[in-house]
Each structure stands twice: as structure tokens, then as C-alpha cells.
Amino acid sequence: MADVGSIQQAKLVLLGDMGAGKSSLVLRFVKGQFFDYQESTIGAAFLTKTIPEKGVKFEIWDTAGQERYHSLAPMYYRGAAAAVVVFDITNAESFAKAKNWVKELQRQGNPNMIMALAGNKADLAAQRAVTTEDAKAYADENSLFFWETSAKTNVNVAEVFHDIAERLPRASAAPQPPVGGITLTETVPERTKKSACCS
């Protein structure tokens, strides 16, 4: 556990087929909301959520629809400490796509990335097309940890993120923010007015 008061930032990316429920999972986790007809992600593809008891602040990146034609930029994966690959348990195709995303992560992501597999829409068990056993077996083979979730009924959503927070390497082992980084802000910092050279 991190020391009290020290909060570690961690970039977390979501991956998965359109309609698997990536945004719904995040909205449930971050804002406690669920909408039956969640629009395709617009305007809110960058959310943050702190889990104080784990000492972690997640910077959560949603795909913003760029997964649709496989046009996610390298920037998306860069520096990500964790990834949640989401599929829809009522849709076998979305499970197949999830496997592709895992491959993509293994290729593009950092090798120490924590990866979770989330079988979402667990509330629709009657229409299940992917068995828990199959998904679990696949997750074990690829060192992912697996949860079946429901953003709608709020089952296991917080658990996925808490589980990730638990497994993140502690601050000393995690990638450090750059030394000498500059934050671009609107206002010019107040400085004693110094004149140009030669004065």
C-alpha cells in the first residue's frame, strides 16, 4: 500500500468492440451512472477517479470511437499502466474481438501493463453466448484477470478497478513523471519583470 497522502497517478485504457459497454463501465465507476441508451462516446473520453484507500488516481482513456476502424493512435497505449479489455457476454463476436485487442496490447503496450478482461452485460445471463469457463480459461492463459461485470446493475464494476489498483507496481517501480516537465497553462506566470538581454 502507498503511504497515506501519497497518490500515485496511473493511466488506464479501455479496449473492446463497439457496444461492449466500455463507456458504461467507466461512467458507472466514475460517476455511478448508467444510461440504457448510452450514446457512442462523445465529449467525455478522459475521466479521472481517485481510490484514496489504494492511493491511486486513475486517468481513464476511453477509445472515443477510434476502435471502430482500428485507428487507435500509439499515443493511446503509451505510458498506460493498466488496460481493461471489455466484451459483451451475449455476443461471441465481441469476445473474439477482445482477443484481438489483447494481442494488440501485447504488441503495443508496455510489457508490465496490468490487464483485466471484463465480460460485461452479466445482467443479460439468459442471452449468454460466451461461457464463464471459456473466458476464464482464456484470461488465465494470457495472464489477465477476469471479472464478469454489469454496468447496468452495478455488479463487479468497482471490483475490476480496485483489483487493478491493488496490482499496480508501487510508486518506486512505476514509470515516473518526466523530470523538468512543463505544464502548459493559459496564464503567463507572474515573474519579476526582467528585461531582455543586455540591460
Binding site: A45, S71, L184, R191, C197
Partner: protein, 442 residues
């Protein structure tokens, strides 16, 4: 892709991605297509593998260079002026949350065959060997005038009308010698050639101000420049993400993407045998070969080194300007370097870029004075690029075409072009002082 859009954007270079982002934020339905399988077009940053594929097809990078993915080699090397227009656009659109920046360590100028630091503080200026004692005084009073000059306050004009007075005449008023003029015009105002001398002084005065404002903008920086971690290729990706967040659709790997015309007016884009309709098409010159003219050529060499550039105080990142007069040319030669401190190469490697506007039929040879400053070079990749301008404004044919990337060392002309195209498309002037974009993004 058989759908209708407000705008289709071709090419994911920086200019196109900024426009795509701005138009999406304005609520336009945007489709953005690239023929390549990567983001960035002409302004991409390439991995080592991509670099070899492009310049030495069939060859594998030597193992000694380290992992391919640790490399982000800019195809259009530039630095970002701290107080320049690009920073204003980055802040206005709030894409800064996707990016990390670090200062560039040093800004240098070649003078009489030696590399000297461009003074960043009073103390450095006093010690700088660039100017003699009396010349320092003359330059000081010139710079005081520039700093105090306020367009709206005639008292600060000292009787000069800078909107008419040529820059050469203003220099003369302060009795500056040609060496100082060369230094101010090229290492501070960052003019590429001496064409500005006959033009009204106001624009050069503003450029000098921009340099000093940039030096003072961020705490603890020793040059007027910043540069993003992982290379400039991050910029188009960040703006593409902005566009996507506001509903923009992205398709890469469409090698046959072509503008579809009806009666000479663009009506959409065809790719993979399907046509997406649009009210207008935006793109870089390579997608409109019949609608652009060549204006200049730029030669660039990207070099991999195993050491920092000599005589730059072991700077992890630096710029060296070789003013035209110092190298008997009409246009300046620029040298840039960055390293692992900006995550563009593995540890213990450096990237150095040498570039200039082509003046002869042997472009590579023109880079020699810049290359000579680098010391031993492990690998060198030379690119000669034609720079195109659009023939028309786009009003008639609904083709809004960006200009190619010129040889300037920074992004001021790049952003100028973007903002002009934005105005031609929307009829609006982008208000960079407002930050409403970020409010909407919450």
C-alpha cells in the same frame, strides 16, 4: 463508409488534425482518412523500423541502435515557441491533457565559425563573446525600444512609423553593425533569409518580442522552446483524439483515397470502391496534385548520433542556427537535436536534424556546414521535399488545401495557415483567448 459528412479530411498531418479537431468541436460531422497505416502524414514521427522502410527499403536496422519503438524521428523537425500560436491552440483546445512537454535546453548560433549560446539572461549577454562592448550598448538600447514598443501608445514609437519604416532603416537608426543585424534577424527574430529587411519593421519587432516573451514564459527554461515527449508526431495524434472525442470518425490505411468531384466541385471522397459524401474536403497537398503548385524545396537530414552535439554544453536538446551570411547562402541552415530526455531515442543516443531551403541542384551538399557541427554520425537519412501551395482558396471547388511545411524552425507559419483555412471554411475567426472548448469537454 457510404454516409454523408459535413467535412472529410484527408491526411493526418498536424494541420489536418488540428482542423479536424476544431471542426468537430464546432459540431461538424467529420470523417478523417489517411492513406498510410500511421498517424501524422508528412509530419509523423517514425520508429526505427518505419524509418528504414521509408529510406532503406529491404534493410533491417542494425541491432546496435537499440529497440525500434524507442525511436520517434520527426519528419518535419521544429520546436514550439513557448509564447507562440501553437501553445495558444493547445491550451484553447485543452489537448494538453494528452501531451507532456519539456523545455529545450539551449539555443545556439554559429558566429565566425564558432557555436555560441544565444544569451538568455542579462548575465549571459554581458559575458557573451557575440558582441563587442560598444555594440552591446547599441543593441541594448535597440532592445529596450522593442520591449517598450506598444502599437496603441504613440509615446513608445519614438517618432518611427513601424508599419511603413523598413526594418533595415530601423537597424540603421540604432547604428547596429551587420554582424549584430544578422544575429538579431536570424537567431532572435528567426527569419530564414534577408527578405524581411525591406519590409515594414513592425512584423520583425513582433518576432523579437515573441522570442523574449517565450524565454520568460515558463520557470526554469533556458531556451524559448518546448518540445513534446515522444516527438512531434504526438501533436497530430492528440488533435485527432480531440476530433474523435467530438464524434469524428477515423480511417487509416486507405491507400486509394481520392477526392470525388462533380462539375469541378468536391462532393466527397472515394476509397475501397465506396464514396462518402461531404459538403467540403480538407487535406494536405498530396491529395490534390492538380490543385497545387510547387513553391520551394526543403532538404532535411535526420542523423542518429551516440553523443550530444559538440560545443552545446552537452545539451540533451538544442537548436543551432547558421545564419545565411555565416555560410554564404541566401537562407539559414537549422540544426536541431533531441535525445532520451524527450523520449525520442534510447538512452545514450541523440537525434540531430539539419535542414534548409534548397538553393542548388545538389541539396544534400548544402547541408554540409550543419552536418560538420555534429561530430561522428552513426546513421543519416536525407530527404528532399517539395513544398506546395494551393492554387485556390477553396470557395469555388470546396477543396481546402493546406500548404506544405516550410523550413522555418518553429510552428508560427504552420498555425497561421491552419487558422486561415479555418476561417475560409467557417467564415469565423478562431477566438484563441476563450477556453470554451475545455468547458464543453468536462
Amino acid at each position: 463508409m457510404d454516409e454523408s459528412y459535413d467535412a472529410i479530411v484527408l491526411g493526418t498531418g498536424l494541420k489536418e488534425c488540428v482542423l479536424s479537431g476544431l471542426l468537430s468541436v464546432d459540431g461538424l460531422k467529420v470523417l478523417h482518412i489517411d492513406r498510410n497505416n500511421y498517424y501524422g502524414g508528412e509530419s509523423a514521427s517514425l520508429s526505427l523500423q518505419q524509418l528504414f522502410e521509408r529510406f532503406r527499403p529491404g534493410q533491417q536496422p542494425p541491432k546496435s541502435l537499440g529497440p525500434s519503438r524507442d525511436y520517434n524521428v520527426d519528419m518535419v523537425p521544429k520546436f514550439i515557441m513557448n509564447s507562440g500560436e501553437l501553445v495558444r491552440v493547445l491550451v484553447h483546445t485543452d489537448v494538453t491533457k494528452y501531451l507532456e512537454f519539456k523545455g529545450v535546453d539551449g539555443s545556439f548560433v554559429q558566429n565566425k565559425g564558432r557555436v555560441e549560446k544565444v544569451p538568455a539572461t542579462d548575465y549571459e549577454a554581458l559575458r557573451s563573446p557575440l558582441l563587442g562592448l560598444f555594440e552591446k550598448r547599441r543593441m541594448r538600447s535597440f532592445l529596450l525600444f522593442v520591449q517598450e514598443y506598444d502599437e496603441t501608445n504613440p509615446k513608445t514609437h519614438k517618432g518611427y512609423d513601424l508599419r511603413r519604416m523598413p526594418m533595415a532603416a530601423l537597424y540603421k537608426e540604432y547604428g547596429l553593425d551587420p554582424m549584430t543585424v544578422d544575429f538579431i534577424g536570424h537567431a532572435i527574430a528567426l527569419h530564414r533569409d534577408d527578405g524581411y529587411m525591406g519590409e515594414p519593421a513592425l512584423s520583425t519587432v513582433k518576432k523579437i518580442r515573441l522570442y523574449y516573451d517565450s524565454l520568460m514564459r515558463f520557470e526554469g527554461t533556458s531556451s524559448p522552446y518546448i518540445y513534446p515527449l515522444y516527438g512531434l508526431g504526438e501533436l497530430p495524434q492528440a488533435f485527432a483524439r480531440l476530433s474523435a472525442v467530438y464524434g469524428g470518425t477515423y480511417m487509416l490505411s486507405k491507400p486509394d483515397a481520392q477526392v470525388a468531384y462533380e462539375n469541378g466541385v468536391a462532393v466527397g471522397v472515394t476509397a475501397d470502391g465506396e464514396t462518402a459524401k461531404a459538403k467540403l474536403v480538407v487535406g494536405d497537398p498530396s491529395y490534390f496534385p492538380d490543385k497545387v503548385q510547387k513553391t520551394s524545396r526543403v532538404v532535411r537530414a535526420a542523423c542518429i548520433l551516440s553523443h550530444p552535439i559538440p560545443n552545446t554544453n552537452n545539451s540533451a536538446s538544442a537548436q543551432i542556427i547558421l545564419p545565411q551570411k555565416q555560410v554564404n547562402r541566401r537562407s539559414d541552415i537549422y540544426v536541431f537535436s533531441c535525445s532520451a530526455s524527450h523520449n525520442v531515442v534510447p538512452k545514450d543516443k541523440w537525434l540531430a536534424f539539419v535542414s534548409t531551403t534548397v538553393e542548388t541542384s545538389n541539396p544534400e551538399a548544402e547541408l554540409a556546414p550543419g552536418l560538420a557541427l555534429l561530430g561522428p554520425i552513426d546513421e543519416k537519412f536525407v530527404d528532399v521535399v517539395d513544398v506546395y501551395d494551393p492554387l485556390e482558396s477553396g470557395q469555388r471547388d470546396k477543396c481546402f488545401i493546406s500548404k506544405g511545411y516550410d523550413a522555418t524552425s518553429h510552428f508560427e507559419t504552420t498555425v497561421e495557415d491552419i487558422l486561415e483555412i479555418y476561417t475560409r471554411i467557417t467564415g469565423k475567426v478562431l477566438d484563441l483567448s476563450s477556453k470554451d472548448v475545455s468547458q464543453a469537454a468536462q
